[in-house]
């Protein structure tokens, strides 16, 4: 046999997956070198969605950055909004009112919910489980309806403001939440039945894309992918921001870090997020949602139209922007995929001198070759899904 195979002339096949390929949602290119169907080498090319986020931020005022943050991780935009606003507030050294904090927590968790729902749904779809996909997309649709009623938009939310929020809760929001969560929980059970104990699904994901905790840390994994390796690192618990320290929730962890664990962690986090929203709604105090600092947060329109000082502040913040003192801060929040960090440098002017985002899926995507090398072509699919690379966030 070996005699024969020596004479056989074989060569590796180089195959281009993407940038427009069904598995590369988010526009990324895999340059896979295949031996049969085994991946010998994989090169990941990103940047197809690069829009110059930082350059744009450096040329707009501090408030004008908020809509751009929506477009980072467009599956969980509210977390991006909140992260950025918190970072600027840290730079300014101000604290927002209690009610605002609770509302932000609710917004963040709704976003996380939609993020995980989308991710698990897409994972099912790409493994051929179309029905599970649609169940979770239906659930996400309901969550998006909630987000829409909260801030008037479904994806490009632009809800959080520096020093406050765009608006308070709409009427009968709690009722809607109760109704939606009931439905989401029902659909969750359906998907759980369809996938969690499905032998085919388990065979496809278990043991694939496994990584040890040490290695995951070295690669800079955060979020569900790191927790699947058994490291209970969650920014919400490690360095609580807003009012997460008052919430009672669990951080699910896995053992092996393979795709099945990542899936299970996300499934459990969906449940935990719903718990947090319910608690936040129950605990939320009444009160203002904006800081009373007219040089930071614009005052209501009626005041601006009727009072000269308000009008001047309004004019100054709109034309020149708010002016944080010179300095630099780094603030991390727990995004859908992991630690979402904002590193802001201010030179005292109305525009950020530097507005850097630490995208969680950037580090995750960098580990793709490590996760699939030596495995089959088909293993790219669940592994890449569970990494949950979001083009807007990874490429900025």
């Amino acid at each position: 046999m070996s005699e024969i195979s020596k004479d056989l002339h074989t060569e590796h096949m180089v195959i281009n997956m993407g940038p427009s390929h069904p598995v590369t949602h988010g526009t990324v290119k895999f340059l896979a070198t295949l031996d049969g169907e085994t991946i010998v080498d994989l090169d990941v090319e990103i940047g197809y969605l690069h829009r110059g986020f930082e350059k744009m931020c450096e040329n707009s005022t501090w408030q004008q950055v908020i809509p751009y943050t929506d477009r980072l991780n467009y599956v969980s935009p509210l977390i991006n909004n909140t992260g950025y606003a918190l970072a600027v507030e840290k730079l300014l050294g101000i604290d927002v009112p209690e009610r605002c904090k609770y509302l932000r927590v609710i917004a963040c968790e709704l976003s996380r919910l939609s993020d995980h729902l989308t991710n698990v749904a897409a994972a099912g779809l790409e493994l051929g489980a179309f029905t599970a996909f649609l169940y979770f997309v239906e659930a996400r649709e309901l969550v998006w309806d909630l987000i829409e009623s909260l801030c008037g938009a479904r994806v490009t939310v632009n809800y959080v403001r520096i020093g406050g929020l765009k608006n308070d809760l709409p009427e009968r929001f709690e009722e809607k939440v109760r109704h939606v969560f009931k439905e989401v929980r029902r659909l969750w059970v359906d998907v759980d039945k369809l996938l969690t104990k499905n032998r085919i699904f388990i065979d496809r994901v278990r043991g694939v894309g496994a990584i040890s905790a040490e290695e995951a840390i070295a690669y800079g994994f955060t979020g569900p992918c790191l927790r699947a390796c058994g490291v209970p690192y969650d920014v919400r618990k490690a360095q609580p921001y807003l009012v997460y320290d008052r919430m009672d929730f669990e951080v699910p962890i896995g053992e092996t870090g393979d795709n099945y664990d990542k899936y299970l962690v996300r499934m459990e986090e969906i449940q935990q997020s719903m718990r947090i929203v319910e608690q936040a709604l129950a605990q939320m105090p009444d009160g203002p949602i904006n800081v009373r600092l007219p040089q930071v947060r614009m005052e209501p329109k009626e005041k601006i139209y009727s009072r000269i000082d308000s009008l001047i502040y309004h004019f100054k913040t709109v034309v020149e922007g708010i002016k944080p003192p010179p300095g630099e801060v780094y603030l991390a929040v727990e995004g859908g995929n992991g630690e979402l960090g904002f590193y802001l440098v201010s030179d005292g002017s109305g525009k950020p001198y530097k507005c850097r985002v630490r995208p969680p899926c950037f580090a995750l995507t960098a580990a793709m070759p490590r996760l699939v090398k030596g495995r089959l072509l088909a293993d790219i699919v669940p592994t890449f899904d569970m990494i949950n690379m979001i083009g807007g966030e990874c490429d900025r």
Binding site: L91, G93, A218, Y330, Y353, R358
Partner: protein, 160 residues
Amino acid sequence: MDASVTLKKLTEKFPDAIVGTHNYRGDDTAIVKKEKIRDICLFLRDDPDLLYNFMMDLTVVDYLGRDPRFEVVYHLYSLPHNRRVRIKALVPESDLTIDSVVSVWVAADWFEREAYDMYGVVFAGHPNLRRILLYEGFEGHPLRKDYPLKKRQPLIGPVN
């Protein structure tokens, strides 16, 4: 200024390499000379009191008109001690190289490629220093402050 454990240990260990430390809004920051960056990073990662096992972020800030012009900024996180630190290495425009820390944290690989792509800082010892977000053939480094906002680059791709 109240110096935290990290900054204190760092100043003790590398008295020559530390240019300054500060703690603004609770963020520990050490400004260091670029020559020692690999040793500093190794120390931060391996010292039992520090154990900065996560390299969370790496970026560059361009202080145009100042010398040294560039700062390579590392954000580290220590999982065992739940602590963060920011290390800023000064890189002058005349010598745009700094040692790569890929051998310390694998995560630095892509972050350094991005920093090179956007600012043109060269990371010596990086295994594969190519552009990452932009394409081969892109001229200049767009996040530098002297890169014009509306500069056009030639379109690439097959020409019919």
